[in-house]
């Protein structure tokens, strides 16, 4: 008997943690499980994350050109993607992704 779907067999869930202004916009939503496929990157994950939500929020992370705003922090397993491969950083099963729109203090 064949597997029902090779894609679903390889798919995996990734937890996306939501912080700062994004959490306010999403009425306190702290995290979201996003279904990922092999070859997933931070950039494609953001598209799926947005698609799972009723309102637009990723424009707080990305410019209209699709680049990270100055000050946006995206961590994969607590490492800033700017020190990895940026939006091309690969996502794997078990990863935890944290999204922070630009913020500051002192």
């Amino acid at each position: 008997m064949l597997p029902s779907s090779s894609t679903s067999a390889e798919a995996f869930q990734v937890r996306v943690q939501i912080f700062g202004l994004l959490r306010l916009m999403l009425n306190g939503l702290e995290s979201l499980e996003v279904r990922c496929a092999p070859g997933e990157t931070v950039g494609s994950l953001l598209e799926k994350f947005q698609a799972a939500l009723a309102q637009p929020v990723t424009h707080k992370l990305l410019t209209p050109e699709g680049e990270l705003w100055v000050g946006t922090i995206i961590l994969v397993n607590r490492r800033n993607v700017l020190h990895l491969e940026g939006l091309q950083t690969p996502i794997q099963a078990g990863d935890v992704v944290a999204l922070f729109p630009p913020g500051a203090g002192g």
């Binding site: 700062g20 607590r78 729109p101 630009p102 500051a104």
Partner: protein, 602 residues
Amino acid sequence: MGYGWNGKILRVNLTTQSCQVEPLNEEWARDYVGGRGLATKYLCEETDPQVDPLSPENKLIFATGPLTGTYGAANGRYMVVTKSPLTGTVACSNSGGYFPSELKYAGFDLIIFEGKAPKPMYLRIYNDKVELAGANHLWGKSTSEAEDLIRNEFHGDAKVALIGPAGENQVHYACIVNDKHRAAGRSGVGMVMGSKNLKAVAVRGTGGVGVADPAGFREAARECYRMLRTHPVTSQGLPALGTAVLVNIINQSGALPTRNSQSGTFDHAEDISGERLAQTYLKRNKSCMGCIIGCGRVTQLSDPRWSGSGEGPEYESLWALGAACGVSDLAAITQANYLCNEYGMDTITAGSTVACAMELFERGLISEAEAGMPLKFGDGDAMVRLIEQAGKGEGFGKKIALGSYRLAESYGAPEFSMSVKKLEFPAYDGRGIQGMGLEYATSNRGACHVRGYLVSPEILGVPEKLDPQAIEGKAAWAKGFQDATALVDSAGVCLFTTFGIGVPQVGKLFSAATGKTADEAALMEVGERVWNMERVYNLKAGIDPSQDTLPKRLLEEPLPDGPMKGAVAHLGELLPQYYSARGWDEKGIPTEQKLKSLGVTS
């Protein structure tokens, strides 16, 4: 003079109770601009750096900058400059609100307090009418009570800067609170004010600030507003959650000093975060004069144990009274923050000193009998009790009032004080963020985050992202940020605007306001001049370069957990690079050539 600067100093001799108006030294104003730079120049010229900070011979200077009270960025700052009783270094503590601009509108750039009043007094200023009034009835009153009394008896629209009971009781980290909820917080400037028997300064000014080129100033101001309104940090990030948004950011980055810097991550960070504060006690945002960012947080505490309202806690307070003490009880943190505001204490040193006491207790150096209670990490109620005792000068609070270094030293264990030059770290671990370790070690007032905020590039990615563990290039970044900050502090502009604007914009405002054209290079040289002047003051005060260091814990104990696990502070590599970037000799002494080029008196 007359544009930007008012051109007038108010000199108040508290011993003789005389108040005199003097012209501002124009040459010094040209070279040191105002605020931090100009006031430090007066301190250097008029006092012996070895003066006892609590003696009448020490001076206390309230200083605005040429941009204070103007519109354009967030130009509502003033600085309190004196010799610090906590550190023995030069002190410059910065505050916003409305008091600074009001002082400018009354016609003064600086107030220099000398001597010591024979009894509690406060200064009343109504434009050019100045008088000292008795303050016996205000002594012992909290900051908000005393401010209300002063406004009732002097002028309903007066703006007030004052000390609380902590300043009167000689808490080493007493601050000067203005507009009830803003504070010149660090280095114990409120202790100096208390030592002079000066309770408050109340000012009502009905004038304005003249600018030399109104059209040019409007254009420069528009540019600043446009940049602040479009930069994601200043237009959205800071307004949304204020500084408290950093709790989760810094914790996730592995650099949130926890349980007296024994860890870089706090398991309960969410419970003390800006996001949680927004869901619980936050009522609204609040701005200082002329500010479009509005990072202030108005809160109302409702808890079975406490109730009240006020401002904060800000990020630094959430950390110091929270993660540093292992406390995840947001109500306790908020209550302790309110107590610090009412007693007039720096929340950073207050929380860090409690954290130090908790470690000393857990190591068996402080007994329960001596403290009057168990002092275990995580006990929010004990933390609140200690803060209150410190403000009142009661019980074990008398020891907490000393600050962490003197506390730990009294038990023969100064290494458990997380401080540099006796000033406690703010909320960033110098192992997790290498540039901040260098900044703490070299800051002229001790471990401080607002002398060169390298968190911005190293963690936040503003203006560009640097690797927090990288060494190369950090010394030059530190120098650049330190010099730029010294300029901003001297101009009277809020440092937070620099997330969105830069020195070129400050330069345009400055040139249009004062009529004295200054390009970016000239203004950065002002910052460097101020930095070197402060360094020379400290050297003369006996603060030698061997104190450009970090506690043993940061140098030798690797972070035990989190994404920065294993990291120690690489100060040994960074410090020589920093001295070289500064043009100082290998021992950290500014060379004669460097000082001569900057026009700083050695």
